[in-house]
Amino acid sequence: MFAWSFYNQGTSDKAASADEFIDSALRWFGTSEPEPGLPRDKGERLAGLIRQEPTLLILNGIEPLQWPPGPRGGQLKDLALATLVRELASSNSGLCVITTRVSVSDLASRRHTTAPELDLRHLSPEAGAALLSQLGDNKHRGSSLGMRWHSR
C-alpha cells in the first residue's frame, strides 16, 4: 500500500508538480535510482512496477494537479501522473483510489468499465453531530442539529 497527498500543493506560488511523488514511488516500488526520462516514460514505468503485485495506491487531493473548470477542466496537468492513472485504469492487479474535488476527465472514457467515480455527498446532520460529540464538543452538538431542523 502506497499513499501520497498532493493536497498542500497549489496553495503557494510554487507550481504544483507530481515529480516528487513519481520519483519517491519509483524508488519505493523498486527502482534504486529513477532514471531520467520523459514524463510519459516515467508514468509507464511506475505503472509497470505497481502492477507487479496487488497494490492499494492512494492519491489524495490531486486537484492542484488538475485544470480548473473550463475547456480542459479536470484534466491532469502532469503528464507522468496522467500516464500513470490511465495506465492503471487499463490494467491493474490492485486498486488506485483517487480523492479530488474535480472529476478526473482523463478517466471519463473508462468510467463505465474500470474506473468508476464515487460522488461524496454531504455528511448528515446526525453524523456531523456525532463527530462533534466524539470530539468532546457537546456545546455545539445541539446547534449543529438545530440548524438542520430549522431549515426544514
Binding site: 519505493w28 490494467s91 486498486l95 483517487i98 474500470t114 464515487l118 456531523g128 470530539l135
Partner: protein
C-alpha cells in the same frame, strides 16, 4: 467554425495549450542544462540566452521556444534536435507535438485569405497508424454461436465484449442465442492450424449485461432506420469468462477500447476504419471515406465502406484509434453504425455492472507507506456506504481505479454561513478541519 491555428503559429504562445508545454517538457528532458540549450540556440542562429542561477532548465526553454516562435526559428530548432543522433528517443514525440494540431474546418479553409498554416495536414505518424492496426488485431474477436461464426465483437473492458445485439438475437433483449457463445481472438491464418484450431477461444458467461435492440425496420431488414431513437441502439455488452485485457498470448497486452461518452465530430473525420470478421473470415480491414453523415438524433452514422454479413458488431475507429461507432447495418449505397457516445450513455445509465465472475479478494498488502498522508483524527464518522463501496471496488478485479469526488472548500464557506456551531469548533480547534477534510474531503451542509 473558427479555424484552430497550430500552437506554434501564435505569437505570443498560448502556454495553456497542451502542445507547447509538452514540447518544452520533452526538450527539457533532452537538454536539461542551460549550456546545452545555449549551444542548440546558437547553432540555429538565435541570440544566446543568459544563464539563470538555480534554474533547472524550464525557464530557459520557455524563453527559447518563445524566441524561436517569434523569430520563426522553431522548425530550425527542431531540425537541430533531429540532427542530434544522441537524442533519437525524443524525435518522434517532438514531431507529434508539431503535427497533432486539430483538423482544419473545410468550409473556413475555402474562403477568405488562404495561407498554408498547417503544412503537416494529412500526414500521419506511421508508427501510430501501425499501433491502431495492432490494437484492432488484439482486441477484436469472431463471435461464434454453437460453433458457427455469427459476427464480430471487441473488448471494451477487461472481461467485457461489445457487439451488435442482432448478432445474438434480433428480437429479444436480453438476447437468447441458440447455443453456447464463444469469442475467438487472434483469428488470423496460422500455418499448420485449421480454422477450428486457430485463435484464442474464450467462453462468454453472460450474453446480456446491458443491451438495446435494433430499430423495427432494421429487424425486418427492409431498410436501416436512420432516425432510430436512443431505445434502439442495437448493441449488447457481454461478459467473458476471464479478464482478457492483460492477456499476452500471441502478442502484446490486449488492453481494450475506451467508451467515450462525449460526442465525436464525425463531420470533421477524414477517414474511418472498420476492422471486421465478415463471413467468418480472418480479420479484415475496410476504409470508410467521406461523406460521413450522422442523423439528427446522433444515434446512427453512415459511411461508405466494404462490409459483408458477419461484419456486424465490428468497431469503427478513427485514424487515431479512437472507437467512434459500432458497425451494424449495410444500407443502400452506404453502411451504418451506431454512435459510441450513445452506447456509452446507455451503459452508464444501467450501472453498476455485475462484478467479474472470477473475482477473488485480493491479497492483503504487506508493505505500507502512508506517511505522506495528512494526519487525521483517531476515529471515523459515518461514510459507511462509501466505505462499503470502496471495499466492493477492492474486491472487484474489474475495477482498477476509483475516484472519490467531493466539492471541498464548502466546509469553510458554509460553516460561516449556516454552521455556526461547527464554525465555533473550528475556531477553538483549527486542526479539527483535517478530521473531515483530509480523509474524504466532504463538504458540509
Amino acid at each position: 467554425m473558427a479555424r484552430t491555428a497550430p500552437w506554434w503559429s501564435e505569437d505570443p504562445l498560448d502556454w495553456t495549450r497542451t502542445e507547447p508545454s509538452t514540447f518544452r517538457d520533452i526538450l527539457k528532458s533532452a537538454y536539461a542544462s542551460p549550456e546545452a540549450i545555449l549551444r542548440l540556440a546558437s547553432q540555429v542562429g538565435m541570440l544566446p540566452l543568459p544563464p539563470r542561477a538555480g534554474n533547472d532548465g524550464a525557464d530557459e526553454w520557455t524563453w527559447t521556444i518563445e524566441t524561436a516562435v517569434a523569430g520563426r526559428w522553431l522548425f530550425s530548432l527542431f531540425d537541430a534536435v533531429v540532427g542530434d543522433p544522441t537524442k533519437r528517443l525524443y524525435h518522434e514525440r517532438l514531431w507529434n507535438c508539431l503535427t497533432d494540431a486539430p483538423a482544419s474546418d473545410t468550409a473556413d479553409a475555402a474562403v477568405g485569405l488562404q495561407t498554408i498554416n498547417l503544412p503537416t495536414e494529412g500526414l500521419r505518424n506511421a508508427a501510430m497508424a501501425v499501433q491502431v492496426a495492432i490494437d484492432a488485431r488484439r482486441r477484436i474477436a469472431i463471435i461464434e454461436i454453437a460453433g458457427r461464426a455469427a459476427g464480430t465483437g471487441f473488448l471494451v473492458g477487461p472481461d467485457l465484449l461489445l457487439t451488435a445485439a442482432h448478432v445474438l438475437d434480433a428480437r429479444r433483449m436480453p438476447p437468447e442465442p441458440r447455443g453456447a457463445v464463444v469469442a475467438v481472438f487472434d483469428f488470423v491464418p496460422q500455418p499448420g492450424s485449421s480454422p477450428a484450431e486457430t485463435g484464442v477461444r474464450v467462453r462468454i458467461v453472460n450474453t446480456g449485461l446491458v443491451g438495446s435492440p435494433p430499430a423495427p425496420n432494421e429487424i425486418e431488414g427492409k431498410a436501416s432506420d436512420l432516425d432510430a431513437t436512443n431505445e434502439h441502439l442495437d448493441f449488447v455488452l457481454m461478459q467473458l469468462e476471464r479478464d482478457m485485457s492483460g492477456d499476452e498470448t500471441n502478442g502484446p497486452r490486449r488492453n481494450f477500447y475506451e467508451l467515450h461518452a462525449d460526442e465525436y465530430a464525425f463531420e470533421q473525420a477524414e477517414l474511418l476504419h472498420v476492422y471486421q470478421h465478415p463471413l467468418g473470415m480472418p480479420l479484415l480491414h475496410s476504409s470508410a471515406h467521406k461523406p460521413i453523415k450522422v442523423n439528427s438524433g446522433k444515434t446512427r452514422v453512415r459511411y461508405r465502406a466494404n462490409t459483408l454479413p458477419g461484419s456486424s458488431g465490428s468497431p469503427v475507429v478513427d485514424t487515431n484509434g479512437r472507437l467512434v461507432a459500432l458497425h451494424h447495418f449495410a444500407a443502400i449505397g452506404s453502411n451504418q453504425g451506431v454512435t459510441i457516445h450513445k452506447i456509452a450513455a446507455s451503459i452508464e445509465a444501467k450501472r453498476p455492472l455485475p462484478r467479474l465472475a472470477v473475482a477473488e479478494r485480493r491479497a492483503r498488502p504487506t508493505r505500507v507507506s502512508v506517511n505522506r498522508l495528512p494526519r487525521t483524527g483517531p476515529f471515523f464518522v459515518a461514510r459507511r456506504q462509501e466505505i462499503a463501496k470502496l471495499n466492493e471496488c477492492w474486491d472487484d478485479e474489474r475495477t482498477h481505479v476509483v475516484t472519490v469526488v467531493a466539492w471541498g472548500g464548502c466546509w469553510q464557506e458554509r460553516s460561516r454561513q449556516s454552521m455556526a456551531g461547527t464554525n465555533g469548533v473550528q475556531k477553538h480547534r483549527p486542526g479539527l478541519q483535517g478530521v473531515c477534510m483530509v480523509v474524504l474531503q466532504p463538504g458540509y451542509q
